[in-house]
């Protein structure tokens, strides 16, 4: 008897994406460039985060026409974003046949208190996190893949580094926390107790953890891989740069050979201008995307 939508099937796709690059695309043409460059998946969007940041207004799920056109033009998996807590957008994305739903802080949240109950869906979900407690809350709600949030649309990797280091540090600390302190730790983190115990015992997250938010160069991708990411998302960084195909190619190779500086030097050469970046301290606190969701 065939069983669909099992946890193993949901987390399994994320396992297959490991060591790969997932790229934001807004047109079928960009999706083809991403696939040609060796992306393991694409994120179908109406606007990349840098434009959402610049234009303001409410950012919602993309028009189904765009998502369908991208699905039709790519043979690799297609992800798409739903607003935090907007389970109807998620239902629509599942009906369209997207391969992963990103419940994303990059869009304007639809519910300030609750995230989507992801166990109800056959389509797997990925969610952002800035620390271990947030990652485990999302996994508790049924997320099958986690990504550190970073600060999307800035081309500045500093927040992605902060979040990856925080999560890894908290995991390490849990592995040496005495058993009798795990309940208090779970309370303080606001994370499900059974997941806290699982992490304490296994010394890792129970699902794949990618890095996202602000990556713009091959060196950024390799940095996040060396810090322990299972793979990387590059959003605005590719199609806001001068030569997207060359940059996408280089980031794919840098992600595979993240620990080989000779190859990193080779692929970092002559890529043209990277996207213009934003310093995080130039952004007002209320405009920081990473603090959307909890």
């Amino acid at each position: 008897m065939e069983e669909k939508g099992t946890l193993r099937v949901k987390t399994g796709l994320a396992e297959m994406l490991k060591g790969g690059v997932i790229m934001d695309v807004t047109t079928p043409e960009q999706a083809r460039i991403a696939e040609e460059a060796g992306a393991v998946a694409v994120m179908a969007l109406e606007r990349v985060p840098a434009d959402i940041r610049a234009e303001g207004g409410v950012a919602r799920m993309a028009d189904p026409t765009i998502i369908e056109a991208i699905i039709a033009s790519a043979t690799i998996p297609v992800m798409a974003k739903a607003r935090i807590g907007h389970f109807v957008e998620a239902q629509i994305l599942e009906a369209l046949g997207v391969d992963y739903v990103d419940e994303s802080e990059v869009l304007t949240p639809a519910d300030e208190k609750n995230h989507i109950d992801k166990w109800r869906f056959n389509v797997p979900f990925i969610c952002g996190a800035i620390n271990l407690g947030e990652a485990l809350r999302r996994i508790g709600e049924g997320a099958a893949m986690i990504r550190t949030k970073g600060e999307a649309g800035t081309g500045n990797v500093v927040e992605a580094v902060r979040h990856m280091r925080t999560i890894n540090e908290e995991i390490k600390r849990l592995t040496v926390t005495p058993a009798e302190e795990l309940m208090r730790t779970a309370k303080e983190m606001g994370a499900p107790y059974d997941l806290v115990c699982w992490v304490a015992e296994n010394g890792k997250l129970p699902v794949v953890n990618f890095s996202a938010g602000g990556l713009a160069t091959p060196a950024d991708a390799a940095l996040m891989m060396q810090l322990g990411a299972d793979g990387v998302f590059v959003g605005s960084g590719i199609f806001k740069s001068e030569d997207p195909l060359a940059r996408a190619n280089a980031i794919v190779q840098a992600t595979t050979h993240f620990d080989d500086p000779a190859i990193l030097a080779e692929v970092s050469r002559g890529l043209g201008k990277a996207m213009a970046g934003l310093d995080i301290c130039e952004i007002d606190k209320e405009n920081l995307i990473q603090f959307r969701g909890w």
């Binding site: 193993r8 396992e15 297959m16 699905i71 389509v123």
Partner: protein, 203 residues
Amino acid sequence: MADLCEKRIGVLAMQGAVREHMRMLEGLGASALAVKYPDQLEECHGLIIPGGESTTIGKLMARHGFLEPLRRRILEGMPVFGTCAGMIVLARDLVEGDQPLLGLMHIKVRRNAYGRQVDSFEDRLEIEGIGSREPFTGIFIRAPWIEEVGPGVQVLSRHQGRIVMAREGNMLVAAFHPELTDDRRIHHYFLGMVEGNGTERLS
């Protein structure tokens, strides 16, 4: 399989489920090596091409000079096991698409044959030759299937009539992911192929 510890099995580490295969191999007492450079192929008695995105794995293999040396090693007799994307990379023919391929095994493969991720599934399979007749849990993720096989290809498993596992000489392929389970029988079977095959030039 007394000398398994002396056998080094490579896992092609371009992208995908590399560490799951390594964990399986190590659990069976073999030594596992993540293969990132073509010259490492000379150190391997067998190679697993893991699941992942076949377009990505194929392109990275081409860019980093893997296609010719790996083809040569397989033609020399080195046993190779491809799961999912690995099966696509080994196939001589695809129903559609023109990605870089090793193109060695006489099978014709359809990518994403079952549909999209919401159609991914697990099911129990009967597999020939892996010792016991106990069903094997096949995890199919955006999986391919084999549409046609050449005369020298032995079909080892079918799911609802579709060929999902096969062997041709030193090449073994599966459309599903044994590395995502705790069932080691298929990896054990592959290590048996390594024991019995083309290893003399290395020792």
